[in-house]
Symmetry: C3
Subunit: 109 residues, 3 copies
Amino acid sequence: MKLILSIVHSDDAEILIRALEQRGHRCTKISTTGGFLREGNATILVGAEAAQVDEILAIIKENCHARTQLVSPLPPVAEAGEFFIPRPVEVQVGGATVFVLNVERSEKF
Amino acid sequence: MKLILSIVHSDDAEILIRALEQRGHRCTKISTTGGFLREGNATILVGAEAAQVDEILAIIKENCHARTQLVSPLPPVAEAGEFFIPRPVEVQVGGATVFVLNVERSEKF
Amino acid sequence: MKLILSIVHSDDAEILIRALEQRGHRCTKISTTGGFLREGNATILVGAEAAQVDEILAIIKENCHARTQLVSPLPPVAEAGEFFIPRPVEVQVGGATVFVLNVERSEKF
Ligand SMILES: Nc1ncnc2c1ncn2[C@@H]1O[C@@H]2COP(=O)(O)O[C@H]3[C@@H](O)[C@H](n4cnc5c(N)ncnc54)O[C@@H]3COP(=O)(O)O[C@H]2[C@H]1O
Ligand SMILES: Nc1ncnc2c1ncn2[C@@H]1O[C@@H]2COP(=O)(O)O[C@H]3[C@@H](O)[C@H](n4cnc5c(N)ncnc54)O[C@@H]3COP(=O)(O)O[C@H]2[C@H]1O
Ligand SMILES: Nc1ncnc2c1ncn2[C@@H]1O[C@@H]2COP(=O)(O)O[C@H]3[C@@H](O)[C@H](n4cnc5c(N)ncnc54)O[C@@H]3COP(=O)(O)O[C@H]2[C@H]1O
């Protein structure tokens, strides 16, 4: 038995949980806070048999990998008659930090 | 030293913490959310010597095991003159999912 | 790779996180509750290479060790003409409970 801890962006947490549950992988969510940005993120706990770890890591990678998104910046308050054509900006979002721990013993009561 | 993570129903968390503390087992509570039902539950962390693990698991089983409870369903809004004799319904409550991890080193500062 | 869990007093959590980040150690904060006092505290997760564990434990000890503080008790509601010279009282604060776990596999997506 292994315990997989995966620290993901809060926007990706719901999508990841749904993808795990659809494949029958039980999981638990902890609301956490990043040390550097002090923003809320999520730590997802998955207890699973060793043979399922590769599949679970693939699901995490598919749903949470770091990627760039094109975001249109908010237009500054324009003067009358001025034109503002927002050029989209690339921003880095998502990403997952994953730790796999060994479980010596597991029980269900 | 071992670290015991026990995911329990929120209604059982207080009872479990009190039972652990009464026997001198230190513990910490994390408020968590179930992946499937999206309901709040609790993850209880207990750091303990290897020799105490069996006793701690017995305390968890005693206070958190899955059981059925008879619950009287709420009466539907009855018409005047109608009789409603609620037949109690069996519902599954409680339950604990427990992971025992090995602690390589522990310190108290 | 190791995963260090450190349960600290909420007042020390911010100071510890800043000290870790300044030395380039990534970390994640979980808001937790003590089993005995039922007061809020914090559990800080730090994933780090084995060679960094001693330095990280030294940072935790430096910023979170148990210590006594002199606290002036609040004056009781004094009668007119009464003098109240508060004698400071020693109170125990802080402290850290630390568990070091082995990480079998870690990934960043
Ligand atoms: N080894 C580890 N142990 C425990 N938790 C870990 C960890 N590595 C990452 N995390 C967790 O994952 C979140 C995202 O980390 P990531 O490395 O993708 O993205 C990080 C990284 O790109 C950057 N960053 C973090 N610390 C930094 C530092 N000291 N200097 C420069 N950049 C830093 O800021 C982003 C957000 O960091 P933040 O701390 O708010 O949030 C982090 C933290 O909550
Ligand atoms: N291997 C594991 N790793 C991490 N956390 C784990 C886990 N196994 C259980 N948990 C945690 O314990 C809670 C109760 O699980 P239990 O198996 O008793 O009771 C479960 C189970 O009977 C059922 N269930 C969960 N996932 C299911 C699925 N994919 N298909 C059918 N039933 C499911 O719904 C109940 C509530 O599940 P929920 O996810 O809301 O809440 C779960 C979850 O937070
Ligand atoms: N082995 C372990 N496993 C998991 N979590 C652990 C742990 N040891 C300590 N903790 C966590 O660290 C907090 C501070 O513990 P500390 O031992 O410094 O300070 C403790 C200790 O001096 C005392 N205490 C705790 N349980 C006791 C008991 N059964 N009898 C007498 N004193 C107790 O009260 C203080 C506050 O305890 P509280 O439970 O509110 O908060 C605890 C708990 O959240």
